[in-house]
Symmetry: C2
Subunit: 177 residues, 2 copies
Amino acid sequence: DHNGMLTDRNEVIPPENFSHVIGEIYRSSFPRIENFSFLQKRLKLKSILVLIPEEYPQENLEFLNKANIKLFQVGMSGNKEPFVNIPSDLFTKALEIVINPENQPILIHCNRGKHRTGCLIGCIRKLQNWSLTMIFDEYRRFSFPKARALDQQFIELYDDKYIKEVATKNSWLPLKW
Amino acid sequence: DHNGMLTDRNEVIPPENFSHVIGEIYRSSFPRIENFSFLQKRLKLKSILVLIPEEYPQENLEFLNKANIKLFQVGMSGNKEPFVNIPSDLFTKALEIVINPENQPILIHCNRGKHRTGCLIGCIRKLQNWSLTMIFDEYRRFSFPKARALDQQFIELYDDKYIKEVATKNSWLPLKW
């Protein structure tokens, strides 16, 4: 057994940049084979939301299928100067998936868990009414050393009026730890 | 009302370096007046564990008293070269407080939430059987730009045999998200 040492110690390997966000919402970089056991057995995921536009890898699809985890894909490109901006409505769509308790426990990820994921988490923090200073404190912690002013501006300018209406109608707010 | 703008927007201000750890365990830097409302109304804290040896500030004590939050103090100095090392038994004592559900929701903090707090969180991750790579990934995210090799060595060498015995006897393990 090649994994003898690992399994003996019952060791689990969360994906890089992994963290709990709130309630049953988690964030990370792109999960790899060595992380599957953590996602299935520790987090007991019901869904994954991926924010990249590319096709999901076959081995990840097989894992999701086997573990009975639902995949949501809201593909987007990151905010890059000078003229690429994430459309706000994609974020609203992503938020509707994430804060719906029916889809939780849910993991949000992009490639490195820094920029697209960081923007989405920032929008969740707006729904929690966090001060922008502390939203950016968290954004930078996860995006280091590649924090983008454009991402922070996106979070600040994101209009959460529509998602707040939907969330309030469905009694999804306030989000609970 | 000087706080008119804040209260109108229902804005909350988590402490710097704030994060959820697992279950009802949280971490942060030293909480200040502007964070009290977040700790009381959002996290609904039952206890705070402070890791500094100095006396707790009067205004914080008054807040805890008013909010009916219990204060635990396990004072220690950080790991500093060449000859200051945190005694392991202090960590075991701290862990016994933190992972006891009776004390949760609980916030762990030191001054900046980087080193002493980071070491304690690293020990919690050992109880969760996380790989050292991912324990250090998290340690560095919060201690940036002041990561200490000594802290990481401390986490690696910390002997969790005794705390695991206590935790198992009390059915505190496995820790739950």
